[in-house]
Amino acid sequence: MPLLAVSELKKSFLTPEGFHQEVINVKQFTLNDEVHMALEGESGLGKTTFLNLIAGILKPDDGRIIIAGQAMSDLSELERDRLRATTIGYIFQTFNLLQGYTCLENVLLGMSFGPGADKAFAETLLQRVGLGEHLKHRPRQLSIGQQQRVAVARALANRPKLVLADEPTGNLDRKNASKSVTLIREVCRENGAALLLVSHDREILSQFENAQEFGDINKTSREETSP
Protein backbone atom coordinates (compact mmCIF):
# COMPACT_ATOMS: atom_id res chain seq x y z
CA MET A 1 0.00 0.00 0.00
CA PRO A 2 1.48 3.36 -1.02
CA LEU A 3 2.20 6.02 1.58
CA LEU A 4 0.16 8.53 -0.40
CA ALA A 5 -2.71 7.64 -2.70
CA VAL A 6 -4.77 10.30 -4.44
CA SER A 7 -7.81 9.45 -6.55
CA GLU A 8 -10.42 11.49 -8.38
CA LEU A 9 -9.31 14.62 -6.51
CA LYS A 10 -11.09 17.81 -7.47
CA LYS A 11 -10.90 21.33 -6.20
CA SER A 12 -12.27 24.54 -7.60
CA PHE A 13 -12.34 28.10 -6.34
CA LEU A 14 -14.87 30.84 -6.73
CA THR A 15 -13.52 33.64 -8.91
CA PRO A 16 -14.24 37.30 -8.08
CA GLU A 17 -16.75 37.22 -10.94
CA GLY A 18 -18.68 34.48 -9.18
CA PHE A 19 -17.64 31.53 -11.41
CA HIS A 20 -16.24 28.23 -10.19
CA GLN A 21 -12.77 27.68 -11.59
CA GLU A 22 -11.42 24.16 -11.42
CA VAL A 23 -7.85 24.16 -10.18
CA ILE A 24 -7.26 20.50 -9.36
CA ASN A 25 -8.48 17.42 -11.19
CA VAL A 26 -6.17 14.53 -10.42
CA LYS A 27 -7.45 11.08 -11.40
CA GLN A 28 -4.71 9.07 -9.80
CA PHE A 29 -1.48 9.78 -7.99
CA THR A 30 0.60 7.63 -5.64
CA LEU A 31 3.84 7.94 -3.72
CA ASN A 32 5.49 5.07 -1.90
CA ASP A 33 7.34 5.13 1.43
CA GLU A 34 10.72 6.88 1.36
CA VAL A 35 10.40 7.69 -2.34
CA HIS A 36 11.48 11.15 -3.54
CA MET A 37 9.43 12.65 -6.31
CA ALA A 38 9.45 16.02 -8.04
CA LEU A 39 6.50 17.62 -9.83
CA GLU A 40 7.30 20.22 -12.41
CA GLY A 41 5.04 22.95 -13.64
CA GLU A 42 4.69 26.63 -14.29
CA SER A 43 3.30 29.02 -11.74
CA GLY A 44 -0.47 29.10 -11.45
CA LEU A 45 -1.07 25.46 -12.31
CA GLY A 46 -2.30 24.58 -8.82
CA LYS A 47 0.81 22.91 -7.42
CA THR A 48 0.50 24.65 -4.03
CA THR A 49 -3.21 23.82 -3.92
CA PHE A 50 -2.34 20.17 -4.60
CA LEU A 51 0.13 20.14 -1.70
CA ASN A 52 -2.32 21.97 0.58
CA LEU A 53 -4.98 19.38 -0.21
CA ILE A 54 -2.55 16.57 0.62
CA ALA A 55 -1.59 18.36 3.85
CA GLY A 56 -5.23 18.72 4.82
CA ILE A 57 -4.98 22.51 4.88
CA LEU A 58 -7.63 22.60 2.17
CA LYS A 59 -10.63 20.33 1.88
CA PRO A 60 -11.26 18.84 -1.58
CA ASP A 61 -14.56 19.21 -3.39
CA ASP A 62 -14.37 15.58 -4.35
CA GLY A 63 -12.03 12.59 -4.35
CA ARG A 64 -9.88 10.80 -1.80
CA ILE A 65 -6.46 11.33 -0.32
CA ILE A 66 -5.10 8.46 1.72
CA ILE A 67 -1.97 9.04 3.75
CA ALA A 68 -0.38 6.29 5.82
CA GLY A 69 -3.61 4.34 5.62
CA GLN A 70 -5.86 7.22 6.71
CA ALA A 71 -8.27 8.86 4.32
CA MET A 72 -7.50 12.55 4.82
CA SER A 73 -10.60 13.57 2.91
CA ASP A 74 -12.86 11.64 5.30
CA LEU A 75 -11.41 13.14 8.44
CA SER A 76 -12.79 16.01 10.48
CA GLU A 77 -10.71 19.17 10.59
CA LEU A 78 -9.46 18.26 14.04
CA GLU A 79 -8.35 14.84 12.83
CA ARG A 80 -6.72 16.38 9.74
CA ASP A 81 -4.77 18.75 12.03
CA ARG A 82 -3.63 15.78 14.07
CA LEU A 83 -2.63 13.76 10.99
CA ARG A 84 -0.72 16.75 9.58
CA ALA A 85 1.04 17.31 12.91
CA THR A 86 2.18 13.70 13.15
CA THR A 87 2.71 12.57 9.57
CA ILE A 88 3.54 15.52 7.34
CA GLY A 89 6.40 18.00 7.18
CA TYR A 90 6.00 21.10 5.03
CA ILE A 91 8.72 23.27 3.50
CA PHE A 92 7.33 26.52 2.11
CA GLN A 93 8.73 28.67 -0.67
CA THR A 94 9.03 31.65 1.67
CA PHE A 95 10.05 29.34 4.53
CA ASN A 96 7.31 30.77 6.78
CA LEU A 97 9.53 30.89 9.82
CA LEU A 98 8.09 32.59 12.89
CA GLN A 99 10.10 35.78 13.24
CA GLY A 100 9.68 36.24 16.99
CA TYR A 101 11.12 32.82 17.76
CA THR A 102 14.68 31.49 17.77
CA CYS A 103 15.79 28.81 15.30
CA LEU A 104 15.52 26.20 18.04
CA GLU A 105 12.01 27.36 19.00
CA ASN A 106 10.91 27.29 15.36
CA VAL A 107 12.01 23.68 15.12
CA LEU A 108 10.46 22.84 18.51
CA LEU A 109 7.14 24.27 17.28
CA GLY A 110 7.37 21.90 14.32
CA MET A 111 7.10 18.97 16.69
CA SER A 112 5.00 20.45 19.51
CA PHE A 113 1.61 19.82 17.93
CA GLY A 114 2.51 16.27 16.96
CA PRO A 115 4.79 13.94 18.90
CA GLY A 116 5.68 16.64 21.44
CA ALA A 117 8.75 18.81 21.97
CA ASP A 118 12.08 16.99 21.96
CA LYS A 119 14.80 19.54 22.45
CA ALA A 120 17.67 17.12 21.90
CA PHE A 121 16.24 15.99 18.54
CA ALA A 122 15.60 19.61 17.53
CA GLU A 123 19.22 20.49 18.28
CA THR A 124 20.41 17.41 16.38
CA LEU A 125 18.40 18.46 13.32
CA LEU A 126 19.76 22.00 13.41
CA GLN A 127 23.30 20.67 13.77
CA ARG A 128 22.64 18.34 10.82
CA VAL A 129 21.68 21.29 8.59
CA GLY A 130 24.78 23.20 9.76
CA LEU A 131 23.12 25.59 12.19
CA GLY A 132 24.38 24.10 15.45
CA GLU A 133 25.87 27.43 16.42
CA HIS A 134 22.80 29.43 15.52
CA LEU A 135 20.27 27.81 17.85
CA LYS A 136 19.38 31.06 19.57
CA HIS A 137 19.46 33.26 16.48
CA ARG A 138 16.23 34.67 15.17
CA PRO A 139 15.37 34.19 11.46
CA ARG A 140 16.12 37.80 10.57
CA GLN A 141 19.65 37.35 11.91
CA LEU A 142 20.29 34.60 9.35
CA SER A 143 21.00 34.60 5.63
CA ILE A 144 18.29 33.40 3.22
CA GLY A 145 20.10 30.08 2.79
CA GLN A 146 20.34 29.60 6.53
CA GLN A 147 16.65 30.41 6.95
CA GLN A 148 15.82 27.77 4.40
CA ARG A 149 17.85 25.22 6.34
CA VAL A 150 15.87 26.07 9.50
CA ALA A 151 12.70 25.43 7.51
CA VAL A 152 14.12 22.03 6.44
CA ALA A 153 14.95 21.14 10.04
CA ARG A 154 11.46 22.21 11.13
CA ALA A 155 9.81 20.10 8.44
CA LEU A 156 11.60 17.02 9.76
CA ALA A 157 10.98 17.87 13.41
CA ASN A 158 7.80 15.81 13.83
CA ARG A 159 9.52 12.73 12.29
CA PRO A 160 7.12 12.84 9.29
CA LYS A 161 6.52 10.03 6.87
CA LEU A 162 5.96 12.55 4.10
CA VAL A 163 7.70 15.86 3.46
CA LEU A 164 5.99 18.31 1.09
CA ALA A 165 8.25 20.96 -0.41
CA ASP A 166 6.65 23.87 -2.27
CA GLU A 167 9.20 25.64 -4.49
CA PRO A 168 11.80 25.30 -1.70
CA THR A 169 14.51 26.89 -3.83
CA GLY A 170 12.40 29.72 -5.17
CA ASN A 171 14.27 32.32 -3.12
CA LEU A 172 17.77 30.92 -3.56
CA ASP A 173 20.44 31.46 -6.19
CA ARG A 174 21.24 28.56 -8.53
CA LYS A 175 24.30 27.31 -6.60
CA ASN A 176 22.56 27.37 -3.26
CA ALA A 177 19.36 25.94 -4.75
CA SER A 178 21.17 22.82 -5.89
CA LYS A 179 22.92 22.40 -2.54
CA SER A 180 19.64 22.97 -0.76
CA VAL A 181 17.78 20.26 -2.66
CA THR A 182 20.64 17.87 -2.01
CA LEU A 183 20.39 18.67 1.71
CA ILE A 184 16.61 18.22 1.76
CA ARG A 185 16.92 14.86 0.07
CA GLU A 186 19.73 13.73 2.38
CA VAL A 187 17.87 14.70 5.52
CA CYS A 188 14.66 13.08 4.30
CA ARG A 189 16.58 9.90 3.46
CA GLU A 190 18.28 9.85 6.87
CA ASN A 191 14.91 10.20 8.57
CA GLY A 192 13.07 7.71 6.39
CA ALA A 193 10.68 10.30 4.97
CA ALA A 194 9.19 10.34 1.50
CA LEU A 195 9.54 13.65 -0.36
CA LEU A 196 7.12 15.32 -2.74
CA LEU A 197 8.71 18.47 -4.16
CA VAL A 198 7.11 20.87 -6.60
CA SER A 199 9.14 23.35 -8.60
CA HIS A 200 9.25 25.17 -11.91
CA ASP A 201 13.08 24.94 -12.04
CA ARG A 202 14.07 22.23 -14.53
CA GLU A 203 17.65 22.12 -13.28
CA ILE A 204 16.48 21.24 -9.80
CA LEU A 205 14.14 18.64 -11.18
CA SER A 206 17.00 17.01 -13.02
CA GLN A 207 18.37 15.91 -9.62
CA PHE A 208 15.37 13.59 -9.20
CA GLU A 209 15.02 10.10 -10.55
CA ASN A 210 11.24 10.46 -10.24
CA ALA A 211 10.16 13.69 -11.86
CA GLN A 212 6.80 14.30 -13.46
CA GLU A 213 5.06 17.14 -15.23
CA PHE A 214 2.32 18.36 -12.94
CA GLY A 215 0.21 19.04 -15.99
CA ASP A 216 0.29 15.33 -16.83
CA ILE A 217 -1.47 14.40 -13.62
CA ASN A 218 -3.63 17.47 -13.14
CA LYS A 219 -6.19 17.41 -15.95
CA THR A 220 -8.22 20.50 -15.20
CA SER A 221 -10.66 21.76 -17.78
CA ARG A 222 -9.52 25.34 -17.02
CA GLU A 223 -12.98 26.44 -17.87
CA GLU A 224 -15.11 28.58 -15.66
CA THR A 225 -18.52 27.24 -14.81
CA SER A 226 -21.51 29.16 -13.63
CA PRO A 227 -22.21 29.15 -9.92
Binding site: I57, D81, R84, F92, L109, F113, G114, H200
Partner: protein, 403 residues
Protein backbone atom coordinates in the same frame (compact mmCIF):
# COMPACT_ATOMS: atom_id res chain seq x y z
CA UNK B 1 4.36 24.60 27.38
CA UNK B 2 3.94 25.35 23.67
CA UNK B 3 0.88 27.50 24.26
CA UNK B 4 2.67 29.53 26.92
CA UNK B 5 5.72 29.92 24.65
CA UNK B 6 3.45 31.30 21.92
CA UNK B 7 1.70 33.61 24.40
CA UNK B 8 4.97 34.84 25.88
CA UNK B 9 6.55 35.45 22.47
CA UNK B 10 3.50 37.33 21.29
CA UNK B 11 3.50 39.54 24.38
CA UNK B 12 7.15 40.27 23.75
CA UNK B 13 6.63 40.95 20.06
CA UNK B 14 3.95 43.49 20.97
CA UNK B 15 5.83 44.77 24.00
CA UNK B 16 4.77 48.42 23.75
CA UNK B 17 1.04 47.74 23.53
CA UNK B 18 1.44 45.04 26.21
CA UNK B 19 3.02 47.56 28.59
CA UNK B 20 0.53 50.33 27.86
CA UNK B 21 -2.53 48.10 28.22
CA UNK B 22 -1.11 46.35 31.28
CA UNK B 23 -0.55 49.78 32.84
CA UNK B 24 -4.18 50.71 32.31
CA UNK B 25 -5.18 47.45 34.02
CA UNK B 26 -2.73 48.25 36.83
CA UNK B 27 -4.33 51.65 37.24
CA UNK B 28 -7.81 50.17 37.45
CA UNK B 29 -6.78 47.34 39.80
CA UNK B 30 -4.58 49.51 42.01
CA UNK B 31 -7.22 52.20 42.31
CA UNK B 32 -10.03 49.73 42.98
CA UNK B 33 -8.10 47.83 45.64
CA UNK B 34 -6.89 51.04 47.30
CA UNK B 35 -10.28 52.72 47.44
CA UNK B 36 -12.00 49.59 48.68
CA UNK B 37 -9.35 48.59 51.18
CA UNK B 38 -8.73 52.08 52.59
CA UNK B 39 -12.46 52.72 52.93
CA UNK B 40 -13.16 49.46 54.75
CA UNK B 41 -10.08 49.57 56.94
CA UNK B 42 -10.52 53.25 57.77
CA UNK B 43 -14.17 52.73 58.63
CA UNK B 44 -13.41 49.69 60.79
CA UNK B 45 -10.53 51.47 62.50
CA UNK B 46 -12.16 54.86 63.05
CA UNK B 47 -15.42 53.42 64.33
CA UNK B 48 -13.38 51.16 66.62
CA UNK B 49 -11.20 53.93 68.07
CA UNK B 50 -12.73 55.39 71.21
CA UNK B 51 -9.69 55.87 73.47
CA UNK B 52 -11.40 53.45 75.86
CA UNK B 53 -14.50 55.59 76.42
CA UNK B 54 -18.14 55.07 75.52
CA UNK B 55 -19.26 58.66 75.08
CA UNK B 56 -18.24 62.29 74.98
CA UNK B 57 -20.13 65.03 76.80
CA UNK B 58 -19.69 68.51 75.42
CA UNK B 59 -21.33 71.79 74.59
CA UNK B 60 -24.52 71.77 72.52
CA UNK B 61 -23.62 71.08 68.92
CA UNK B 62 -22.70 68.36 66.52
CA UNK B 63 -21.98 64.94 67.99
CA UNK B 64 -19.53 64.28 65.21
CA UNK B 65 -17.61 67.49 65.87
CA UNK B 66 -17.51 66.61 69.54
CA UNK B 67 -16.07 63.13 68.89
CA UNK B 68 -13.60 64.36 66.29
CA UNK B 69 -12.38 67.01 68.68
CA UNK B 70 -12.25 64.95 71.89
CA UNK B 71 -11.20 61.55 70.57
CA UNK B 72 -9.34 62.23 67.31
CA UNK B 73 -7.95 65.69 68.15
CA UNK B 74 -9.40 67.06 64.93
CA UNK B 75 -11.73 70.01 64.43
CA UNK B 76 -12.34 72.77 66.96
CA UNK B 77 -14.27 72.32 70.17
CA UNK B 78 -17.94 73.20 69.69
CA UNK B 79 -17.80 75.10 72.99
CA UNK B 80 -17.16 74.60 76.68
CA UNK B 81 -19.05 73.13 79.59
CA UNK B 82 -18.80 74.10 83.23
CA UNK B 83 -16.91 72.35 85.95
CA UNK B 84 -20.20 71.53 87.65
CA UNK B 85 -21.35 69.76 84.46
CA UNK B 86 -18.27 67.61 84.78
CA UNK B 87 -18.97 66.92 88.47
CA UNK B 88 -22.57 66.00 87.63
CA UNK B 89 -21.61 63.42 85.05
CA UNK B 90 -18.77 62.13 87.22
CA UNK B 91 -21.19 61.51 90.08
CA UNK B 92 -23.73 59.73 87.88
CA UNK B 93 -24.07 56.20 89.34
CA UNK B 94 -23.93 54.66 85.86
CA UNK B 95 -20.59 56.30 85.04
CA UNK B 96 -17.44 54.35 85.81
CA UNK B 97 -14.98 57.03 84.77
CA UNK B 98 -15.27 60.64 83.62
CA UNK B 99 -12.18 62.48 82.43
CA UNK B 100 -12.26 66.18 81.55
CA UNK B 101 -10.19 67.56 78.71
CA UNK B 102 -9.42 71.11 77.62
CA UNK B 103 -8.01 72.25 74.32
CA UNK B 104 -7.05 75.58 72.79
CA UNK B 105 -3.28 75.63 72.42
CA UNK B 106 -0.67 74.01 70.22
CA UNK B 107 3.03 73.55 69.81
CA UNK B 108 4.09 73.96 66.18
CA UNK B 109 0.70 72.64 65.10
CA UNK B 110 0.58 69.71 67.51
CA UNK B 111 -2.35 70.04 69.85
CA UNK B 112 -1.91 70.54 73.60
CA UNK B 113 -4.61 68.71 75.54
CA UNK B 114 -5.14 69.39 79.19
CA UNK B 115 -6.44 66.48 81.25
CA UNK B 116 -6.16 64.72 84.58
CA UNK B 117 -3.95 61.78 85.46
CA UNK B 118 -7.07 59.60 85.41
CA UNK B 119 -6.75 59.58 81.62
CA UNK B 120 -3.51 57.61 81.89
CA UNK B 121 -3.86 55.80 85.21
CA UNK B 122 -7.49 54.62 85.26
CA UNK B 123 -8.32 54.29 81.60
CA UNK B 124 -7.56 51.45 79.20
CA UNK B 125 -7.42 52.76 75.61
CA UNK B 126 -8.06 49.21 74.40
CA UNK B 127 -9.03 46.14 76.42
CA UNK B 128 -6.09 45.32 78.71
CA UNK B 129 -3.97 48.19 77.36
CA UNK B 130 -3.06 51.33 79.29
CA UNK B 131 -0.96 54.22 78.08
CA UNK B 132 2.66 53.73 79.14
CA UNK B 133 5.74 55.90 79.27
CA UNK B 134 9.01 55.35 77.54
CA UNK B 135 11.89 54.53 79.96
CA UNK B 136 13.09 57.44 82.08
CA UNK B 137 9.82 59.36 81.92
CA UNK B 138 7.13 60.15 84.45
CA UNK B 139 3.56 61.43 84.38
CA UNK B 140 3.12 65.17 84.77
CA UNK B 141 2.52 66.73 88.20
CA UNK B 142 -0.93 68.39 87.93
CA UNK B 143 0.33 71.36 89.93
CA UNK B 144 3.35 72.04 87.70
CA UNK B 145 3.94 73.15 84.14
CA UNK B 146 4.92 69.71 82.96
CA UNK B 147 4.08 67.81 79.82
CA UNK B 148 3.89 64.23 78.58
CA UNK B 149 4.50 64.09 74.83
CA UNK B 150 2.89 61.63 72.43
CA UNK B 151 5.32 59.33 70.64
CA UNK B 152 4.69 60.78 67.16
CA UNK B 153 5.10 64.40 68.34
CA UNK B 154 8.25 63.51 70.26
CA UNK B 155 9.81 62.03 67.13
CA UNK B 156 8.70 64.84 64.83
CA UNK B 157 9.65 67.70 67.19
CA UNK B 158 12.65 65.87 68.67
CA UNK B 159 11.33 66.31 72.20
CA UNK B 160 12.59 64.25 75.14
CA UNK B 161 12.39 64.30 78.91
CA UNK B 162 14.01 67.41 80.26
CA UNK B 163 13.30 69.59 77.21
CA UNK B 164 11.30 72.78 77.61
CA UNK B 165 8.91 74.58 75.26
CA UNK B 166 6.49 77.48 75.03
CA UNK B 167 2.95 76.67 73.90
CA UNK B 168 1.26 78.75 71.17
CA UNK B 169 -2.28 79.99 71.38
CA UNK B 170 -4.97 78.43 69.22
CA UNK B 171 -5.22 75.12 67.43
CA UNK B 172 -3.38 76.37 64.34
CA UNK B 173 0.26 77.29 64.69
CA UNK B 174 1.09 80.98 64.45
CA UNK B 175 4.49 82.04 65.79
CA UNK B 176 3.09 85.41 66.81
CA UNK B 177 0.83 83.74 69.37
CA UNK B 178 3.42 82.29 71.71
CA UNK B 179 2.44 81.98 75.35
CA UNK B 180 4.94 83.07 77.95
CA UNK B 181 4.64 79.91 80.05
CA UNK B 182 7.45 77.39 79.84
CA UNK B 183 6.63 73.71 80.02
CA UNK B 184 9.03 70.93 80.86
CA UNK B 185 8.76 67.58 79.16
CA UNK B 186 8.78 64.92 81.88
CA UNK B 187 7.84 61.89 79.81
CA UNK B 188 7.20 60.51 76.35
CA UNK B 189 4.34 58.07 75.71
CA UNK B 190 5.08 54.68 74.24
CA UNK B 191 3.45 54.43 70.85
CA UNK B 192 -0.13 53.22 71.11
CA UNK B 193 -1.04 53.78 67.44
CA UNK B 194 -3.94 55.90 68.65
CA UNK B 195 -4.65 59.62 68.43
CA UNK B 196 -2.85 60.02 71.80
CA UNK B 197 0.45 59.75 69.90
CA UNK B 198 -0.25 63.04 68.11
CA UNK B 199 -0.79 65.15 71.23
CA UNK B 200 1.15 66.92 73.97
CA UNK B 201 -0.57 66.18 77.25
CA UNK B 202 -0.44 68.76 80.04
CA UNK B 203 -2.39 69.23 83.28
CA UNK B 204 -5.98 70.41 82.84
CA UNK B 205 -5.25 73.60 84.75
CA UNK B 206 -2.44 74.36 82.34
CA UNK B 207 -4.90 75.02 79.52
CA UNK B 208 -7.53 76.52 81.81
CA UNK B 209 -5.20 79.12 83.29
CA UNK B 210 -2.82 79.75 80.37
CA UNK B 211 -1.98 83.45 80.05
CA UNK B 212 -4.18 85.23 77.55
CA UNK B 213 -7.07 82.77 77.83
CA UNK B 214 -10.50 84.05 78.80
CA UNK B 215 -10.60 84.00 82.66
CA UNK B 216 -14.00 82.33 82.39
CA UNK B 217 -12.20 79.30 80.94
CA UNK B 218 -10.51 78.64 84.27
CA UNK B 219 -13.68 76.90 85.46
CA UNK B 220 -14.63 75.29 82.15
CA UNK B 221 -13.59 72.22 80.20
CA UNK B 222 -13.85 71.48 76.46
CA UNK B 223 -15.38 68.03 76.87
CA UNK B 224 -15.74 65.11 79.24
CA UNK B 225 -14.78 61.62 78.17
CA UNK B 226 -17.25 59.19 79.72
CA UNK B 227 -16.92 55.47 80.39
CA UNK B 228 -20.12 53.78 81.45
CA UNK B 229 -20.35 50.91 83.90
CA UNK B 230 -20.42 47.59 82.11
CA UNK B 231 -23.49 46.39 83.99
CA UNK B 232 -25.57 49.48 83.15
CA UNK B 233 -27.09 48.33 79.92
CA UNK B 234 -29.54 51.20 79.65
CA UNK B 235 -27.26 53.92 81.00
CA UNK B 236 -26.33 55.18 77.55
CA UNK B 237 -29.97 55.48 76.48
CA UNK B 238 -30.91 57.22 79.73
CA UNK B 239 -28.08 59.75 79.46
CA UNK B 240 -28.83 60.27 75.77
CA UNK B 241 -32.42 61.06 76.74
CA UNK B 242 -31.37 63.30 79.62
CA UNK B 243 -28.79 65.40 77.78
CA UNK B 244 -29.98 65.36 74.18
CA UNK B 245 -33.79 65.23 74.43
CA UNK B 246 -34.71 66.70 77.78
CA UNK B 247 -31.81 69.14 78.08
CA UNK B 248 -30.81 71.75 75.54
CA UNK B 249 -27.44 72.94 76.82
CA UNK B 250 -25.17 69.93 76.35
CA UNK B 251 -24.62 67.16 73.82
CA UNK B 252 -23.99 63.55 74.76
CA UNK B 253 -22.25 61.77 71.86
CA UNK B 254 -22.93 58.07 72.39
CA UNK B 255 -21.91 55.51 71.28
CA UNK B 256 -18.70 56.87 69.80
CA UNK B 257 -18.51 54.19 67.06
CA UNK B 258 -21.99 55.02 65.80
CA UNK B 259 -21.18 58.72 65.69
CA UNK B 260 -18.09 57.98 63.62
CA UNK B 261 -20.08 55.70 61.33
CA UNK B 262 -22.20 58.77 60.50
CA UNK B 263 -19.03 60.44 59.24
CA UNK B 264 -18.45 57.60 56.79
CA UNK B 265 -22.08 57.80 55.71
CA UNK B 266 -21.58 61.50 55.01
CA UNK B 267 -18.41 61.00 52.98
CA UNK B 268 -19.73 57.81 51.38
CA UNK B 269 -20.33 59.65 48.10
CA UNK B 270 -16.61 60.32 47.84
CA UNK B 271 -15.54 56.68 47.84
CA UNK B 272 -18.50 55.82 45.61
CA UNK B 273 -17.18 58.33 43.07
CA UNK B 274 -13.67 56.89 43.34
CA UNK B 275 -15.02 53.35 43.00
CA UNK B 276 -17.00 54.41 39.94
CA UNK B 277 -13.86 55.98 38.47
CA UNK B 278 -11.94 52.74 39.00
CA UNK B 279 -14.76 50.74 37.36
CA UNK B 280 -14.61 53.12 34.39
CA UNK B 281 -10.83 52.72 34.19
CA UNK B 282 -11.36 48.93 34.28
CA UNK B 283 -13.75 49.19 31.32
CA UNK B 284 -11.31 51.38 29.41
CA UNK B 285 -8.48 48.95 30.23
CA UNK B 286 -10.55 46.02 28.97
CA UNK B 287 -11.43 47.90 25.80
CA UNK B 288 -7.78 48.77 25.24
CA UNK B 289 -6.80 45.09 25.51
CA UNK B 290 -9.45 44.25 22.94
CA UNK B 291 -8.39 47.07 20.63
CA UNK B 292 -4.65 46.38 20.84
CA UNK B 293 -4.96 42.65 20.11
CA UNK B 294 -7.70 43.10 17.52
CA UNK B 295 -5.70 45.72 15.64
CA UNK B 296 -2.68 43.43 15.51
CA UNK B 297 -4.69 40.53 14.09
CA UNK B 298 -3.88 41.43 10.48
CA UNK B 299 -0.15 41.09 11.09
CA UNK B 300 -0.76 37.92 13.11
CA UNK B 301 -2.76 36.10 10.44
CA UNK B 302 0.32 34.75 8.70
CA UNK B 303 1.77 33.59 12.02
CA UNK B 304 -1.50 31.88 12.90
CA UNK B 305 -1.61 30.24 9.47
CA UNK B 306 1.95 28.94 9.95
CA UNK B 307 1.06 27.51 13.36
CA UNK B 308 -2.03 25.88 11.87
CA UNK B 309 0.07 24.46 9.02
CA UNK B 310 2.38 22.96 11.63
CA UNK B 311 -0.61 21.14 13.09
CA UNK B 312 -1.99 23.60 15.66
CA UNK B 313 -5.74 23.25 16.06
CA UNK B 314 -8.18 26.12 15.72
CA UNK B 315 -8.88 25.79 19.45
CA UNK B 316 -5.15 26.08 20.16
CA UNK B 317 -4.81 29.45 18.42
CA UNK B 318 -8.11 30.56 20.01
CA UNK B 319 -6.75 29.63 23.45
CA UNK B 320 -3.45 31.40 22.77
CA UNK B 321 -5.18 34.71 22.03
CA UNK B 322 -7.45 34.32 25.06
CA UNK B 323 -4.49 33.56 27.31
CA UNK B 324 -2.56 36.48 25.85
CA UNK B 325 -5.39 38.85 26.76
CA UNK B 326 -5.67 37.32 30.24
CA UNK B 327 -1.87 37.50 30.65
CA UNK B 328 -1.89 41.23 29.91
CA UNK B 329 -4.43 41.61 32.71
CA UNK B 330 -2.37 39.36 34.96
CA UNK B 331 0.78 41.41 34.37
CA UNK B 332 -1.29 44.54 34.90
CA UNK B 333 -2.53 43.21 38.21
CA UNK B 334 1.02 42.49 39.39
CA UNK B 335 1.76 46.16 38.76
CA UNK B 336 -1.66 46.93 40.27
CA UNK B 337 -0.55 45.48 43.60
CA UNK B 338 2.53 47.69 43.53
CA UNK B 339 0.33 50.69 42.75
CA UNK B 340 -2.02 49.68 45.57
CA UNK B 341 0.96 49.57 47.94
CA UNK B 342 2.04 53.06 46.90
CA UNK B 343 -1.45 54.62 47.11
CA UNK B 344 -2.26 52.91 50.40
CA UNK B 345 1.06 53.86 51.99
CA UNK B 346 0.63 57.51 51.01
CA UNK B 347 -2.98 57.70 52.24
CA UNK B 348 -2.19 55.75 55.43
CA UNK B 349 0.73 58.12 56.03
CA UNK B 350 -1.55 61.17 55.72
CA UNK B 351 -4.14 59.60 58.06
CA UNK B 352 -1.39 58.72 60.53
CA UNK B 353 -0.04 62.26 60.53
CA UNK B 354 -3.47 63.82 60.87
CA UNK B 355 -5.05 61.46 63.39
CA UNK B 356 -2.49 59.04 64.77
CA UNK B 357 -4.62 56.15 63.54
CA UNK B 358 -2.56 53.49 61.82
CA UNK B 359 -3.83 51.60 58.76
CA UNK B 360 -2.05 48.42 57.72
CA UNK B 361 -1.06 48.28 54.02
CA UNK B 362 -0.62 44.51 54.16
CA UNK B 363 -3.88 43.70 55.91
CA UNK B 364 -5.81 41.25 53.76
CA UNK B 365 -9.04 42.41 52.21
CA UNK B 366 -11.28 40.31 49.97
CA UNK B 367 -10.93 42.97 47.26
CA UNK B 368 -7.39 41.66 46.78
CA UNK B 369 -8.91 38.45 45.49
CA UNK B 370 -11.99 39.56 43.61
CA UNK B 371 -10.50 42.64 41.93
CA UNK B 372 -7.58 40.75 40.28
CA UNK B 373 -9.84 37.79 39.45
CA UNK B 374 -12.44 40.09 37.88
CA UNK B 375 -9.90 42.09 35.89
CA UNK B 376 -8.15 38.95 34.62
CA UNK B 377 -11.55 37.50 33.67
CA UNK B 378 -12.44 40.80 31.94
CA UNK B 379 -9.12 40.67 30.11
CA UNK B 380 -9.85 37.15 28.91
CA UNK B 381 -13.32 38.32 27.89
CA UNK B 382 -11.72 41.11 25.85
CA UNK B 383 -9.68 38.45 24.09
CA UNK B 384 -12.74 36.57 22.82
CA UNK B 385 -13.39 38.76 19.76
CA UNK B 386 -9.79 38.64 18.42
CA UNK B 387 -9.62 34.96 19.41
CA UNK B 388 -12.64 34.26 17.22
CA UNK B 389 -10.87 36.09 14.41
CA UNK B 390 -7.81 33.89 14.98
CA UNK B 391 -10.05 30.81 15.06
CA UNK B 392 -11.49 31.71 11.66
CA UNK B 393 -8.15 32.46 10.01
CA UNK B 394 -7.96 30.82 6.59
CA UNK B 395 -4.72 28.87 6.54
CA UNK B 396 -4.18 28.44 2.80
CA UNK B 397 -4.96 32.08 2.00
CA UNK B 398 -2.48 33.35 4.56
CA UNK B 399 0.36 31.04 3.57
CA UNK B 400 1.08 33.04 0.42
CA UNK B 401 2.63 32.91 -2.08
CA UNK B 402 1.25 30.04 -4.10
CA UNK B 403 2.70 28.40 -7.17
Amino acid sequence: MTIWLIVFRSLRQHALSTIVTAFSVALAGGLLMSVWSIKQQAEATFTGVNAGFDAVLGARGSKLQLVLNAIFNLEASPGNLTWSDFLDVQSNPDVELAVPIAVGDNYHGYRLVGTTLDFFEKNEYAPGKKYALQPGGSWFDPRRREAVVGDFVARKMNLKAGDTFHPFHGLIFDDKNQHSETYVVVGVLKSSNTPADQVIWIPLEGIQKMSGHDPKMATEVSAVLVKLKADSALAGFQMDLMYNRQGNRLTFAWPIGTVMAELFDKIGWFDRVLTLVSYLVAIVATASILASIYNSMNERRREIAILRALGARRTTVFTCILLEAASISFLGMLAGFALYGIIFTIVAGIIRVQTGVVLDTFKFNLVMLWAPASLIALGALAGIVPAIKAYRTDVAQNLAPTS
